[in-house]
């Protein structure tokens, strides 16, 4: 596994951003701009039940009165929400019946992305629900999962086939009034994934969604809902890429997780949206709301994220620890290079007794980038014996970047314990010279040192993701030294 050397070659061959190609497929789009008709158009396209449209419209009306949040340590010019398409779908709409019917050009795109969509090429044990722009085009492995009673499909499909489940849970973790971007998402979300794992079932494979923004000037608003019923377990992987474009694109997703008694959800993300060029032109605005509710006793939700892409990342995967003895975890690596900005962290809301949370955050900043960890740990009055441990480490490469740590701690229970540790360090000249004296190039040395710095988080990722993540770490820091 000469990851670093291999990576260097890859990077050379791929000319910086591997995923920066555009697929030429005829798209069907909603008229540009955003009003109630846009919302109706999307809902009609998806043949949604009336309650769904009503919910969307409530969200839209609420959104009109909201202001964009400004507390994050990120800066960007105002977004013109009227100058974007809110729905884009490939015109030759592929049916889900068989992979053979999928547009070969789409399959080619997935090949370039390295997703083995065809069953015979699949990663062992990974079922992929691919979201291409706004419509989920193919879902693998469905049969096997169905036998176990596991539902894994696009949220549009779930709305048709399992409306009662969607209706019972959607918006219960992230209400449509939650925040500016989540509310916008509630009004115009176009697709996403839906997972339901029945009582006592342990999902035998990693479920995976690969998001990709293709069309120009489209926002992507996925909505993902995962429900783990009592005593069940599921591990979900999410990977993201986007083509290179000069203009900025908005991505405002919402992810809701619900874990009932004794259930466990592990949610892993590798986010590699286009970060913009080395002068900060273009790139994705990644304004995402992710939240999990540990509703049941002894339930557990674990977020692991590797954030290397996007021009701006604004994201706080959180856990509401409602059930007694429930557990929340947040493992994060956020890498920013050039002019990227990341304001990311988590919220651990302890409501139940003996709830536990663990936060390990590794921020790496290079070039002119700004990297902020922002995290809230709240111990509610009922949270007897609750515990939190937080560790925030920042690594700086060069002297023009910044790292910031903003912890918020609120405790309303005397028996609760909160620990917070933070460090900031630089890659030392001694370390670089030592590595080079042993034959490693400066870039390989940086990649090795940074991977070591992130190790506690990377080892939380499922195997096939961990290798990819290591390579991404190296690619993201390309050109950051020397």
């Amino acid at each position: 596994m000469a990851v670093t050397t291999e990576t260097r070659e890859q990077v050379k061959a791929l000319d910086k951003y591997k995923y920066g190609f555009v697929t030429d497929i005829e798209m069907e789009t909603a008229p540009k701009g955003l009003d109630e008709d846009t919302v109706r158009f999307i809902s009609a396209k998806k043949n949604e039940p009336a309650w769904m449209l009503e919910w969307r419209l409530k969200a839209f009306r609420h959104w009109l009165g909201m202001k964009e949040p400004s507390w994050a340590k990120v800066s960007y010019p105002p977004i013109d929400f009227q100058n974007a398409y809110y729905y884009a779908a490939p015109k030759k709409k592929p049916t889900v019946k068989s992979l053979d019917e999928v547009d070969p050009e789409l399959l080619e795109t997935y090949k370039k992305l390295g997703i083995p969509l065809a069953e015979q090429e699949r990663l062992a044990g990974v079922a992929v629900d691919a979201v291409f722009d706004s419509v989920s085009v193919a879902t693998t492995y469905k049969g096997k999962l169905e036998k176990m009673g596991i539902i894994f499909c696009s949220i549009s499909e779930a709305m048709q086939k399992h409306p009662e489940l969607v209706r019972q849970y959607i918006g219960t973790v992230v209400p449509y009034t939650d925040n500016f971007y989540a509310t916008l998402n509630s009004a115009v979300f176009s697709d996403g994934s839906f997972v339901y794992v029945p009582k006592g079932v342990r999902c035998p494979m990693e479920l995976s969604t690969y998001f990709r923004i293709n069309a120009s000037e489209t926002g992507q608003f996925e909505r993902t809902l995962i429900i783990a019923d009592a005593g069940s377990y599921v591990s979900y992987l999410e990977g993201c890429t986007a083509p290179m474009r000069d203009e900025n694109q908005l991505h405002a997703a919402v992810v809701e997780l619900v874990a009932l008694d004794d259930a466990e959800i592990k949610y892993s993300t590798v986010q590699n949206w286009y970060p913009g060029d080395e002068n900060g032109k273009g790139g994705i605005y990644n304004f995402v709301t992710k939240r999990g509710a540990c509703r049941g006793r002894n339930s557990k939700i674990s977020w692991t994220q590797v954030e290397t892409g996007s021009a701006i990342t604004w994201k706080y995967p959180s856990c509401i620890l409602q059930g007694d003895n429930s557990q929340g975890e947040f493992y994060s690596v956020a890498i920013t290079n050039n002019y990227q900005q990341a304001d990311t962290g988590t919220k651990m809301i302890h409501l139940g007794k003996n709830t536990r949370s663990r936060i390990i955050s590794k921020g790496i900043s290079a070039g002119h980038a700004q990297n902020t960890y922002r995290g809230l740990v709240r111990m509610g009055p009922r949270a007897e014996g609750a515990r939190n441990y937080t560790q925030c480490d920042s690594l700086l490469i060069g002297d023009k970047c910044g790292a910031h740590t903003v912890p918020y701690i609120e405790s309303k229970n005397r028996s609760a314990r909160v620990e917070h540790e933070a460090t900031t360090s630089k890659i030392s000249d001694d370390q670089l010279f030592y590595c080079r004296q042993r034959g490693l190039s400066e870039e390989d040395a940086v990649s090795l040192i940074v991977n070591g710095f992130c190790k506690d988080v990377l080892q939380e990722l499922p195997m096939e993701f961990a290798v990819e993540a290591q390579k991404l770490v190296a690619i993201s820091l390309e050109g950051s030294v020397g």
């Binding site: 000469a2 050397t5 034959g439 400066e442 070591g452």
Partner: protein, 249 residues
């Protein structure tokens, strides 16, 4: 193997090496002794190519090539190895991973195939067995939490794996008790070979009881003031550096 001619070098604008000349042939072990501040460590860093050490005059030929024109990693790949006085800690990177990356980088430069995980572990086990080292230290992060002795042994292990043509040992004895000194010296001695040269830099004669040099040089104020065989080291031990410092003045 190595030809140093009239080498002058500055650190932060201050001249530390002032006309150092030295010739080392394949198969030889040379020792450089000298008081603090005589330029011993500067010499090792200049040979390894560390930033901040500026050569103002003179040249260094290594196997007929201009060593000073090469990047540090190229020197390493060409077979120049520096055993550090203070080996550096790299948190989170396991010793095995580090060694494998280093070896494969060097092998690649030499036109040899890179070793896969299985091949590498096999080689590593064999090498450690030869050196009488425990595998326990492979799992830990590079030099993190290592004792002084373990750090130096780790340097010897790296040397044994990378098989350099020319090795500089910078105060390898510092911080070692007598048992550790013996283990490290045995390791170094086992690497002596007709096609390999070594430069042992030390403050004390003690090390040279274990690693017996072919030539001994006394460094004072940035140049070599006396050269001789191993008896010179013993003489130095008796008389101290003061007499030589005067010669350099």
């Amino acid at each position: 193997m190595l030809e140093i001619k009239d080498l002058h070098a500055t650190v932060d604008g201050k001249e530390i090496l002032r006309g150092l000349s030295l010739s080392i042939k394949a198969g030889e072990v040379h020792a450089i002794m000298g008081p603090n501040g005589s330029g011993k460590s500067t010499l090792s860093y200049v040979l390894a190519g560390r930033d901040g050490y500026a050569v103002t005059k003179g040249e260094v030929l290594y196997r007929g090539k201009n060593l000073l024109a090469m990047e540090p990693e190229v020197r390493a790949a060409e077979g120049v190895f520096l055993a550090f006085q203070y080996p550096v800690e790299i948190p989170g990177v396991s010793n095995t991973t580090f060694l494998k990356h280093a070896l494969n980088a060097v092998r690649k430069h030499r036109g040899e195939s890179e070793l896969d995980a299985m091949q590498f572990v096999k080689l590593l086990r064999e090498t450690m067995k030869k050196l009488g080292m425990s595998e326990e230290m492979l799992k830990r992060a590079v030099n993190v939490g290592f004792s002084g002795g373990e750090k130096k042994r780790n340097e010897v292990l790296q040397m044994a794996l990378l098989k350099p043509a020319f090795a500089v040992l910078d105060e390898t004895d510092s911080g070692l008790d007598i048992d550790a000194l013996k283990v490290v010296s045995d390791g170094v001695n086992s690497l002596r070979a007709p096609d390999r040269a070594m430069l042992v830099i030390t403050h004390y004669q003690r090390l040279l009881d274990y690693i017996v040099p072919d030539h001994v040089h006394v460094l004072a104020k940035g140049r070599i003031v006396r050269s001789g065989d191993k008896s010179l080291a013993l003489e130095l031990e008796k008389s101290g550096y003061a007499a030589f410092a005067k010669e350099a003045a």
